[in-house]
Amino acid sequence: MKAEEEFDDIFRKKAEEANFDFRQSDWEKVRRKIDEQRLAEYQNVSGVNYWLVSAIALIGSAVLIFLAIPENNAEALADEVVYQPEQQQTLTVKSLPSEPAALAVLSTGVAKSSPVSPRAFKSISSIPSSRLANSSNPKTQVFESTVVPDNSQVSITDNQQASQTKEDISKSTIESFIDPEEVIDMVTLQPRTARLSLTQFEGSQLSGNVINIPDDPEYVSKNSQSKQSFNAEFGLSLFGGWIENSVSSGNGLNLFGGLNYNRMLNDKWSLSMGSQVYNLKGLNTVFYQNSSNDFGFGSTQTQTVLTCHSMMFVSFPLRIYYHPDQKHSLSLGLHAGSLLMAKNTIEIMQLSDGQIQQYSSEKQNSVYENMNSANFLLSMGLNKNIQERVSLQVELFYGLSDLFADSDQSKLQQNTSGIRIGLNYRISGK
């Protein structure tokens, strides 16, 4: 062996023999660093995911709006439909924003049909009246009990935006269905009543007056339920909270709001999904506590306490509705929520021989690891229509998730159970 290698070998052997006494002070230093590191790690454990969830919710809502708004508003745009057979024998449609809409109104007001596309309308107008009367097509059935004359004179007026083509189509269509000999002097169809059929007009004692045709339960049953709708909901939540170490937490009033897309599965059942934001205030929950000791001359203890005061969740409710009648509906739902933000206080105390030497407190809006980011709720609700577009909803809900991870300090199940009272507003439907 070369002397050079021998030199290296001696060093290597000596280094392997090395033995060093353990120093407790070194451990205390690393323990503090570990605490600091974990505290930092707890913070914003999945901040990116929350942004992602929020972005998905936003995009999802936008898609829902896009899906729900087009082709609808048969009722919304039928501000006024006037039939004036004696004066002008003219069907007047006001405030028509577009051709399909205008045609839909005409088809609805005159012939009791749900929104009809221009193509469908053209096809109806081209069918001879005799065939219409016996048709089994849902869009043409409405004409079965309607007297269809041959020499009607009906035109669209007061629609500056309507194109020539639209007027032509409308004239050709309407002319086929209106009887100038009818005793009706003037009929004003309000948005809802516009759905009534001419059959019902005939049954009414109409003579020279503007009338409002009353609600027809049968009509409402078949037509007022939009197959799809887009709703906004908002209101108050009352959480039950929990009691921990003789301190109540998580109880009180909170706000919620959201957007939902609803689709009728059949006459009685519908399915709804959407996004919702709700908060949970009144928390006083210590979810992280750590104390460490330094032993020198006497002892020094450092305590770190994290307390959560409020939380904000974004959730995606999936509800199934049962509609026993037109005014009421019952719901069952599952709400998959994700913690968006939490308001916390971080307290750090340094005690020397039991006396507080230093105290610092800081408020932070962040999500820590000891918080459960997922919050699942089960809900059961009752909705009652209080206006055409507005319904009152009462919902009982039960939290399936523990909001905070179990720790040495607490193994309590902290969940969000309570009651919600809110309003549901139908933004659009088709």
């Binding site: 050079e4 030199f7 090395a18």
Partner: protein, 185 residues
């Protein structure tokens, strides 16, 4: 150094007692590495703690088929090199010297080296310039090749060789001086 898999599992779950136990068990070994690279014990303890935190946070990726001792040694050395890179000063980079000692003079220093205890040897290593010390430790004690050292320290292989020779030269010189001065007394 025997580490029970259960202890590792507990450390992964952030069990404080287990973390303390692991620290205590691996302390001497890690300190022996750190002290070779650091100038003094305080600095060594600081780096040791940094490396231990890395060990804890990487425990999930530890595979039992690798000896735990070798695994923590690699993490510790990487930590030390990272620290060195952060603190690397330009003027320490290169100071070439041309005179290489011939191997005949090693017998004297090898004798001196045998007489010294571990503590003294560490002191001698600690007296080397930082870059030279690191190359010496990496090559002689930790068994890395010049190529690996060059990559780790971001230097050329030639520079690594030069640092190794410089380290040997300075260590021999200081070892012989120490032993002779001790004998003279």
């Amino acid at each position: 150094m025997e580490i029970h898999p259960k202890l590792i599992a507990l450390c992964i779950r952030h069990d404080r007692k287990a973390e303390y136990e692991l620290y205590k068990i691996s302390y001497s070994y890690l300190m022996s590495i750190c002290l070779r690279y650091a100038k003094n014990r305080d600095k060594a303890a600081e780096t040791l703690n940094l490396g231990y935190m890395k060990i804890l946070s990487n425990l999930k990726s530890y595979k039992p088929d690798i000896p735990f001792k070798a695994w923590i040694r690699r993490i510790m050395i990487n930590t030390l090199i990272d620290e060195f890179r952060k603190n690397k000063r330009e003027h320490e980079k290169l100071m070439y010297v041309e005179n290489y000692f011939d191997s005949s003079s090693y017998s004297e220093s090898n004798e001196a080296l045998d007489k010294l205890n571990v503590q003294q040897i560490y002191e001698h290593i600690g007296k080397l310039p930082e870059a030279t010390r690191n190359v010496f430790n990496l090559y002689v004690i930790d068994g890395f090749s010049h190529k690996e050292i060059a990559t780790m320290l971001d230097i050329s292989e030639g520079t690594s060789k030069w640092h190794l020779n410089a380290a040997r030269m300075k260590l021999r010189e200081s070892l012989v001086n120490t032993v002779f001065s001790y004998v003279k007394r």
